[in-house]
Amino acid sequence: MGEGLKWERKPGSYPEPKIIKSTITGEPKKVYPPIEPEYDSDSSTEEDPNRVGRIPMHWYDDLPHIGYDINGKRILRPAKGDELDKFLAATEDPTSWMSGFDHTSQKDTQLTSQELDLIRRLQDAEVPDASYNPYEDTVEWFTGEGKQEIMPLTARPEPKSRWQPSKWEKQKILKIVRLIRAGRIVPNKPKSKEPQWYSLWSTEAETRRPPPLTAPKVPLPKHAESYNPPEEYLPDQEETEKYDDLSDEDKVKTYLPKKYDSLRHVPAYEHFIHERQNRLLDLYLAPRIRRVKLNINPDSMLPSLPSPQSLRPFPVFEALKMSGGGNSRARCVSVSPDGVWTVSGDEDGIVRLWETFVGREAARWKLGKRVGAVEWCPRKDVSYFLVGVEDEVFAFMPPYLPPAVESATLDVLVPRNPPQPIGEQTDKSVKWSQESISFKQSASTFSAPLIVVGLPPGAGMPKQITFHRRGDYFATVSSAEGHNAIWIHQLSKRHSQSPFKKIKGMIQRVLFHPNKPHFFVATQRYVSIYDLSAQKLLKTLYTGSRWISSMDIHPTGDHLIVGGYDKKLMWFDLDLGNKPYKVLRYHTKAIRSVAFSPTYPLFASSSDDGTIQIFHARVYSDLMTDALIVPLKVLRGHAITDGLGVLELRFTAGLGTCWLVSAGADGEVRVWCN
């Protein structure tokens, strides 16, 4: 454009522009002379700068060049001196401190004074721009003479509160003023100087509530805790080891006694703070209960009982041991009313007759069926016994009877004209049959049963036979359930009846009252007393036992003892109520049998632990005095076989003896004498 123009060049000054008329617009315009790159021009003196651009320089790390110039030629990496060169440069070059490595050009570049100044400012947290003045004078735009704002910024009217005093503030202040005037508020009041301590207990306490129970005091230290205890307190090796093995919770004492020969050797006790802490925890975490601590001689708790020596006679030692030879258990035993004969039955079906005083086996019956019960007739003028085997009851007459007794017995058992059962009353299910061989020779009379009572089918084995006092009636208890379990038989009329149509539970035992028409039936847990004449239930006794095993009644008929498989023996005073008067628990295993002595104030119980326990039981006719029960003696001798001990026991009567006959699971029958 300006090629046609000529500028004269004056050295040291800028060329003047020429004003020409634009050929395009027609307007005048300034035209400057083109810059001629000469030697002294700014750009010509400079070295050609590195123009590789903003690229990551590490691209060229492994290459000899560091990029390309505008012509596409390689720009070689400038030579870098070694450490020595660097050191020399640093020491010799006075400007080396103001140079830094430039990554783009890959060489040291000297910083300019402006750059240095910028760095300094940044370091001193000043404004980086040197030309910026932070402390300029204020310019008053809207204040001062003649500069007031005339128009408001908003058109909103000014609120009233700007110029009117607050009403509720006034009320509040007035309230405070009133309080101050009244002396309720004292500004800057000094803290009250009440005495910290005063006589607290000079006035009576208002007893709103009883004070809490005081905690028990810490037990006082014993000799063992001394720093210098007597030597016997010091633990030996064994005790120390035992103590160390215990865990902290199991230790009764928190320390082991230790001896120091001098007070200055006693160290600090390491658990001191712990023990105090535990005490404090006890004080606020442990429930407090007032316990009465008995400080009595334990023997004073025992009831004062008369000495057993003063209560003689009672069985104390084993006089005879009668063994059948077999291994089967002697299941049941019975003693004749005069005490001369003992009959026992075992599980092999053998019934043996013994002479009680000498232990000789007088007779033996092999029945072939398991024997559940034997019972001697209580009548003294006749002599026979009943044997209960499965589904049948046999009546046997013992041998060696005096002729009068024998004839009387035969008269009872096999009369010449047997009574005909009364049609209506007879239950057809029970069959009475009688030996036809009446009035045979005595040698053979005892070999076979004189009477056979066939129980209804399904009745099972009679586990108990019990006679009425007069010996005419007897009751059998079978293992069957329902009304077949109990049968009451009348011998003289050959008549049997089942007293209960329906019965709940399993019958364990039955008993006739010795002098009243009452009948005791023990089920598993309860004992019911029935009036047989009135045909009603009189009373039910709650035994508290879980399974009754045995029962016997006192000869007076006022007291009943009941034994249970749960080791308990219950004494009932029948006048008192339906709860036991006394419950004794002393056997270690189930009670099998209990029996009162018919003549002496004694009773005994036998158990599976193989022992027989004899008690003195004195009852008073006076209603106010309770029965006195004194344990007398534990008889041991029977061996425990298959977990069973003494299965049945009976007291003898007559001849002034108070002997005891027991049958054990070891197959032996023993006689215990006083």
Partner: protein
């Protein structure tokens, strides 16, 4: 038909609630609840059935009675605790916002509470408070022995130290200390205050290692209550004794390690009456006009003393044994004036009431002044804090070297007044002439002598406790288990006699074994004839041989043997009979009673076993000693 009741709303088990429910009901935090329970003395209760009380849940919880919780709900302190919570919140907000003025105002109105009413409530009468003082004093004494720790505020420790010193001061002044016991755990002291025994245990003065698993919040809550309790109790005790409470602290003495001595007892009405030890020292030699520290008693002073004595006659009467100089005024401007507290506190007035007479310390008994004629010097390795307290409580005068603290009336072991030096180091070897001379003039005893004298109630012979000697055993004065317990002081009976079975209840098997042993032992001595088991042929033979060797007539031997056999048999038979009878009678007990009976029997048997074990051990030790000695 009545209204149907909801399950769990009636009956004894419905009266208990669990702790969580209690806290929810009171609307406080668990920490505050704990603290409140500690302050009010509310403890958990045991419901008749835990399961029923917790509505069928049998998880382990603690139960509180609903009335107890209702009682807590009406406690004024509970509101203060809530206020404090609010205060803390406001304070932290003000601090966070850097509103210092507001924080300062808050701090000035910081909610505080007092526990006076709780003390009164828990201990309606003063004697109740005295009965429950044991734990409080134990706690305070422990606090006094602790060094600074980040978990225990310094102010608490200082309070503990002050209360502990005040208690010791009171006990010393009233001569209330009765028994002391040096145990491996610490030192047990027992004092009798108003007829009640107060027992406390102080640790040996060592740096206590503070375990990590101790909850100091619990300890501080207790301490907070105990401080108030002790403050009021001490006030009452001090004013009953005619003293000013709190006793002023001599800061200079305290800084010099004066310990308890830094507090000065000051009678009510007197501005400052010196009750310090100087006066006491001089009290022991009243005849001398020249006081120990060079002062000369003037007639004016004597008159003043008499005047003072007249005023405080009542107070002095109770403790006739206390030195008269206790009331000696050290300043000139002594004006007798009526007690300030006389209006409120009848016991501190001039009139003697029955109450005051009953409360007088029983210092007239001889045992409280056993050390009165003596002057003790505690050498530097003996524990001054124990010995100073004990000796002073029994009327003695104590001195100690300056290295153990200031305020000692006697600073030199060689002082002529010193009668006993309490020393706890071995004898010097070799003994210099000076040492010998010293031992000729004074008694050198070990610290145990002081404590044993106190427990015995009389001065024991010093020889057994002399320096360097093996000390006799130190026995607990509290070991009164009843007449059946093992007594280490029981005289050693004849050995063989001792070896015989000590109790008849022993099983016969054991008896036989021991009998054999006894027979063997019997052979060794002339008393061989006491054969416990004459059925044992071996033993009899041995005994016979021994008897022969000793020259005992065979006839005589037989006689004794027969006798022994008779007693043995009789004993055994009777024993078995008796045992079986006892077993029989046991049957008649109800199951509950039988269990109790068996338990008691077992406990008695265990005690008896322990006794026998100790007795045998003692005999064995004696034997061994004899053997090694010979």
């Amino acid at each position: 038909m009545g209204k149907e009741t909801k399950k769990g709303t009636k009956g004894p088990n419905s009266k208990y609630i669990t702790r969580t429910k209690a806290i929810r009901k009171l609307q406080i935090s668990l920490n505050d609840f704990r603290r409140l329970c500690i302050l009010k003395g509310i403890v958990p209760r045991e419901p008749p059935s835990r399961k029923k009380a917790n509505h069928g849940n049998s998880a382990p919880t603690s139960f509180y009675h609903i009335k107890d919780i209702a009682f807590l709900a009406h406690e004024p302190v509970i509101q203060k605790l809530r206020d404090h919570k609010i205060f803390l919140r406001r304070m932290s907000r003000a601090m966070g916002k850097q509103e210092w003025g507001r924080a300062k105002a808050l701090e000035e109105n910081r909610p505080t509470y007092k526990l006076d009413h709780i003390v009164k409530e828990r201990y309606p009468t003063f004697i109740d408070a005295i009965r429950d003082l044991d734990d409080a004093i134990c706690c305070v004494v422990l606090g006094a022995s602790l060094s600074q720790h980040r978990r225990i505020p310094k102010a608490d420790l200082e309070d503990c130290a002050r209360l502990s010193a005040e208690w010791q001061l009171y006990v010393t002044h009233t001569r209330a200390l009765k028994k002391t016991f040096l145990s491996i755990k610490g030192i047990y002291y027992q004092a009798e205050v108003m007829g009640e025994t107060v027992t406390w245990v102080a640790p040996y003065q060592f740096m206590q290692k503070i375990p990590m698993d101790v909850d100091f919040r619990v300890m501080r809550s207790f301490l907070e209550f105990y401080k108030t309790l002790l403050g009021f109790a001490f006030y009452k005790l001090y004013s009953d004794a005619g003293l000013v409470y709190p006793p002023p602290l001599d800061l200079k003495k305290d800084a010099m390690g004066g310990g308890v001595d830094a507090y000065r007892l000051q009678p009510v009405g007197g501005p400052t009456s010196s009750m310090d030890v100087d006066a006491k020292v001089n009290g022991n030699k009243k005849k001398k006009v020249d006081l120990g520290d060079g002062k000369v008693l003037t007639s004016k002073q004597v008159q003043k003393t008499i005047a003072a004595m007249e005023v405080e006659d009542e107070e002095e009467e109770g403790e006739a044994s206390a030195p008269l100089d206790d009331a000696l005024p050290s300043t000139e401007e002594f004006i007798p004036q009526p007690s300030k507290t006389s209006a409120t506190d009848p016991s501190s007035s001039n009139l003697i009431t029955l109450h005051a007479l009953a409360n007088l310390p029983t210092s007239t008994s001889r045992s409280t002044k056993i050390f009165e004629p003596y002057v003790f010097f505690i050498s530097r390795e003996s524990p001054r804090h124990i010995l100073e307290f004990v000796v002073k409580s029994f009327g003695g005068v104590v001195g100690w070297p300056i290295t153990c603290g200031s305020g000692s009336p006697i600073e030199n072991e060689d002082d002529e007044r010193v009668t006993h030096v309490i020393i706890d180091r071995p004898l010097p070897d070799p003994m210099s002439e000076v040492d010998k001379e010293r031992r000729r003039k004074k008694k050198y005893v070990q610290p145990q002598w002081v404590v044993d004298c106190v427990n015995a109630g009389k001065i024991l012979l010093e020889n057994a406790y002399a320096q360097g000697k093996t000390l006799p055993p130190h026995l607990s004065p509290f070991n009164a288990e009843g007449d059946g317990a093992y007594d280490p002081l029981a005289p050693e009976e004849d050995e063989d006699f001792n070896m015989a079975p000590p109790q008849p209840e022993e099983k016969s098997k054991k008896r036989h074994r021991r009998g054999k042993k006894a027979a063997a032992a019997a052979a060794a001595t002339a008393a061989a004839l006491q054969v416990s088991n004459p059925t044992d042929a071996d033993a009899v033979r041995k005994a016979e041989l021994e008897a022969e060797r000793l020259g005992i007539e065979p006839a005589e031997f037989d006689k004794v043997l027969e006798k022994a056999a008779a007693t043995n048999q009789g004993g055994e038979e009777g024993e078995s009979e008796g045992a079986s009878e006892e077993n029989m009678a046991k049957m008649l007990l109800s199951s509950k009673k039988r269990k109790l009976y068996n338990l008691m029997k077992r406990t008695n048997a265990r005690k008896e076993d322990e006794k026998v074990r100790l007795q045998q051990k003692k005999i064995e030790i004696a034997k061994q000693k004899k053997r090694t000695g010979v």
